[in-house]
Symmetry: C2
Subunit: 339 residues, 2 copies
DNA sequence: GTGAAAGCGCTAACAG
DNA sequence: CTGTTAGCGCTTTCAC
């Protein structure tokens, strides 16, 4: 007999003078074992330094205790609020998060989904609604409880909770129009495989179009989600004589870059140019000038998504698709003003 | 015989006309099976929609394919760079990350460690060097490959890779002194259970003390890691007649808040007050004024930590403790100037 | 309430 | 190179 390195359930059972079955029950159905037996086992666990093996547990087709989360990136203020809220709520419900990032590559996302499924996650959290057909197909085939966060639409294939990003775009565009601006520029990220950005842009353009306002091609700035890049691309635009009186940014980070660009050119925001963002990141209210933006309540999205996922996991018979529209809200602050 | 829901390795084997063992080998030691057999199996996998069960694999005491990461919070630019780099590198090495957050509560950290161990993570990434004795003891008892990120010290109980935060504090303090400042205030977070902040503060105070400079108690601002809070606590200090000529912040977010506080009071940075941070977050170089700070190379920390962990996991005989000191660097920018 | 025994899905010897 | 066999650590009927 070779010496095992770590205590297993049998060691604990011997130690406590009960059978392995009882030890198992003690963990999974505590009220099926007598309190004093339970106490014996508890002591045995401590003495042996036993740590349960979830893998062995998961093998019985039962709970793995994990939930998968696939996000484009962690390297970014954009999702961190959301992820934190989602993670916290799921932790509270006894799950551990398996996190994977795909860097905005949806092929990679599919592979990660497979990998997470190999780990038998009990549910999956995704960002956005743009996913490969294979991704959706796999989720459906395995009937894995899933929830898409960040964007809301009434016709989604899987449960979703998020803001209506089209509405967010409309709201901020309308605000800019209401202030009397007509010379409006846009600073958005690439909308390819990024439905959040695409929806926002759609909303913005929709409202502008209805107001008969054209955005010249060279006023449609393309930038990444970085202060640096946003600042760089904006400087050119703002240096020109023929410049806009307002700029709508795809999110708050971009807006911040735009503001710095203006300020570095000696311009006043909102005096010389109004700048609006979308997202209301932590800190946006405390910039100088404070940023007019659309509040998306990412905390609520994350928490609600976790709650829905938990429900989906605990009632797997119920195949309903839950959809939650977290209302967006205009935060009028200092970075925009009447023309 | 009841119908199973999902294909298992036996279904695949039947489908491919081979034995389960061969299928298993095909996954784990591909070069031990003939290419055409491999192809058969590949086809069978696709037809059956088979997805491996890592849990069943992990049960053999072998690889679970997961690595645990325990961080204080995700809700924060501070760690996101680091985490992203760590995660990416580990993904590249074939691991999936199990992430848990403890919200700066080290008791919680211990519980999370246990939970991660239940999932039989093959390695653990931690932030900082301040941990409960139980946490260290558990890691040592189970000989779990572990690496602490963010702070470097030559005498750690587990492997670590990070910057010497004391050095970071010294560097920025020396810079401020070199500029001729003598009236210096500090804006730091609570250093309890936060060795990174504590080390930085130690470094700063050390240098100031050697230069015979006292920091009055009411010039030692206490703030959280938020622009908002930092801005609020700074306004009082800066409104006073008896105010400092320079403020050293515990990190860049705090520094940003301090700068906004000054600017909102109509003061010029660095004209009226110099402000320095620590961290060099993405964006810090593009603030207005650009922030003088200490570069910590969090990407490198994350990547190196992942590499070390991978090595530790793959060579479990080798019980060496690796320690990597990622050099800090002063980034002289616009937010500080000669007195 | 508790124990005995039969697997869960997979892998690692060992033969062939 | 591939199949056979014996488990891995745990959970769950079914008796007792």
């Amino acid at each position: 007999m070779k010496t095992k390195k770590y205590a297993d359930i049998i060691d604990v059972a011997n130690h406590a003078g009960v059978s392995p079955a009882t030890v198992s029950r003690c963990f999974n159905h505590p009220d099926m074992v007598r309190p004093d037996t339970r106490k014996q086992i508890q002591i045995a666990v401590e003495q042996t330094g036993y740590i349960r093996n979830r893998a062995a547990q998961a093998i019985h087709g039962r709970r793995s205790g994990t939930v998968g989360l696939i996000v484009p990136t962690l390297d970014n203020a954009i999702f961190s609020n959301l992820i934190q809220a989602f993670t916290e709520q799921l932790n509270a419900n006894g799950f551990t998060m398996l996190v994977a990032t795909h860097g905005y590559d949806l092929d990679r996302e599919y592979k990660l989904l497979r990998s997470l499924l190999e780990h038998r996650v009990e549910g999956i959290g995704l960002i956005g609604l743009d996913h490969k057909e294979e991704t959706y197909a796999l989720i459906e085939r395995r009937e894995t409880p899933s929830v898409a966060m960040w964007n809301y639409r009434p016709d989604t294939r899987i449960s979703c909770v998020g803001a209506d990003n089209i509405e967010a775009g409309k709201l901020i565009a309308q605000h800019i129009l209401d202030l009397g601006h007509k010379r409006i520029a846009l600073a958005f990220p690439d909308t390819h495989e990024n439905d959040r950005a695409a929806s926002r842009l759609t909303g913005v353009l929709d409202v502008l179009k209805k107001a008969d306002i054209q955005v010249p091609a060279d006023w449609r700035l393309n930038t990444t989600y970085s202060i640096r890049n946003a600042r760089e691309v904006s400087v050119d635009l703002l240096s020109s004589h023929d410049r806009p009186t307002a700029i709508i940014a795809g999110n708050d980070v971009i807006a911040q870059g735009v503001i710095y660009a203006a300020q570095s050119l000696g311009m006043n925001v909102p005096g010389d140019v109004s700048v609006a963002g979308i997202g209301d990141f932590s800190g946006s209210a405390h910039l100088l000038p404070s940023l007019t933006t659309i509040k998306l309540r990412s905390n609520k999205v994350g928490r609600s998504a976790a709650l829905i996922l938990d429900e989906l996991i605990n009632d797997r018979e119920n195949k309903n698709i839950h959809r939650l529209d977290i209302k967006v809200e205009l935060m009028m602050r200092e970075s925009t003003s009447k023309l």
